[in-house]
Symmetry: C2
Subunit: 322 residues, 2 copies
């Protein structure tokens, strides 16, 4: 702790706060202007009051030295990330006890008095990978996480995707793997992508922790099929320059080459792009930031919020001068 605090003191002027808000744990972090992590704490997600108070306390206790320039939040959902919506910054219809219709971003903004950037956890992770990770220099790419749930975030033309709501890539409909009779574990859809390959789905399939299964187990063949089919569909819909696969299930690194081969097989040479045909290892990749994609992304959201606030202030000041 001594080391990070001294690092922090040397970088006083522009400091950003980031919150990676997951259904099971919260990560709060402080970063400098280049989004280098200076401090990071984790605690379990409880009810909204308790958890948001703890988050606010953390950032208040670290705000002495010039304060935070802004805060970024990448949250579990569903959320409302649309800047022009009256429910912007809310967690909306989540089944998570107590969290339904929680004004997440607004509460932090009022308590801390700084601009707040807000998005889904996966859009934040995609932004993190685009800023400092495996998608640097790209404008159109996807970050898909396969863990307790399955979710995807995307940047298209350099902007995070927000439409009617936000991407929910985990719930795509896919053709069944040959010989797979698992009914699926999604409480809404049964055998959607998440229902077939999430951590809990694999636990149910295996009758225990899936990380003990050998790489040649049939379950991994099925997982390979569903993930490859999902990547094919993502590619058909938004033609990403790269797809990043993160989350606990993808710690099984043997899946990467198999998913690439299966996706090529399913595409059957239809998309004649060198990245797909000759170099799929550049198209389907692990995160450059490992498990820090989300927290770095939340710091990047903070930096964007600070820049937008500065730009608004400048415009306002110019208007007053005239």
């Amino acid at each position: 702790m001594d080391r990070t605090e001294s690092t922090w003191a040397r970088n006083a002027p522009a400091r950003y706060g980031g919150v990676e808000a997951g259904g099971t744990k919260f990560v709060c972090a402080i970063g400098d202007a280049s989004l280098t992590l200076l401090e990071r704490v984790e605690f379990p997600t409880g009810g909204p009051d308790e958890t948001l108070d703890r988050t606010i306390d953390f950032f208040r206790s670290r705000s002495g030295n010039g304060g935070l320039a802004a805060l970024g939040v990448g949250s579990f959902g569903p959320v409302d990330p649309r800047p022009d919506s009256p429910a912007w910054g809310y967690i909306t219809t989540t089944p998570k006890p107590g969290w339904r219709h929680t004004d997440f971003a607004g509460r932090l903004r009022r308590a801390l008095g700084v601009p707040v950037g807000f998005d889904t956890d996966t859009n934040a992770a995609a932004l993190g990978e685009g800023t400092l990770g495996a998608a640097q220099g790209l404008h159109t790419f996807v970050y898909l996480t396969i863990g307790t749930g399955v979710g995807g975030g995307a940047l298209v033309g350099g902007k995070r995707v927000h439409g009617l709501l936000h991407p929910e890539m985990g719930h795509m409909k896919l053709p069944r793997a040959e010989g797979d009779d698992f009914e699926g574990a999604c409480p809404f859809h049964g055998d959607c992508l998440e229902g077939m390959v999430s951590g809990p789905a694999l636990h149910a399939r295996a009758g225990g922790p899936p990380n003990r299964l050998p790489p040649d187990h049939e379950i991994w063949t099925h997982v390979t099929h569903y993930l490859a089919a999902a990547l094919v569909n993502i590619t058909c819909v938004l033609s990403p320059q790269r797809i990043i696969l993160g989350g606990g299930v993808m710690h099984q690194r043997h899946l990467f080459p198999r998913i690439r081969r299966r996706a090529q097989h399913l595409l059957a040479g239809y998309l004649q792009s060198p990245e797909i045909i000759a170099h799929p290892e550049t198209f389907i990749v692990p995160p450059g930031l490992g498990d820090n994609a989300g927290v770095v992304g939340s710091l990047a959201l903070a930096r964007l919020a600070a820049e937008q606030a500065a730009s608004r202030a400048q415009k306002h000041s110019a208007e007053r001068t005239i």
Copy 2:
């Protein structure tokens, strides 16, 4: 003809040319500054030399009266629509005889001496619907056409989607409809979306023209399933504010309410958006421009190309003044 030519003469200053380039026919059109169609001709698609010469002749013969400000092309593909690519404006790996690696946009630009906007036929149709059709005022939406082939275009955050290549929504992988044993008609993938619901697929299923089948025929139940599953996947990946379904197969208007219900059934209440839950007739809609979406979109591409050229010229002139 007299009438359109006199209309044209009254609107001399800003006239745009548009080409909707299909695999079976070309549509060439002239529009005014508000993209009103002033003239429109169609001819069958032949080899590239013959067809592009005819296109060039049409626009040259109409260029006497002040000339065209710009030309827009929405083309069958695959194409390269990425502005920073050396192959920009090319038709690339099409199986269509003679058209492989044709410098479509470049040839028109050299022959006519005007700025050329270029994109896929479906991105152009999406742009047309966003400009004057069923997606006006929206920033994130999809246009899917179901005809000889199945293809989709999209705007996300107000910009047409170009990533690694361009969307190819017709080739998504979907779960089979119950009781459907049709092997699929896509030469690459068999039972992808296009393989199950394109015009030729329906012809093969029905053993004749599908438009003679009664609305309660089982084939329409299968078509409903695949299209609804495709729309669910599109919604999961990019969360469009609206999806427009066009093309010859969608002239079967009885499909619209059935597809909406089936999509709701497949989503199972997971996406709690009023547009999906309560008003799916505002979410899944026919084109506002009917079969003119593509040609209006090509005129909109021309207008964008003219605006970009003007903005570049202004910047260049400002730099010279300094």
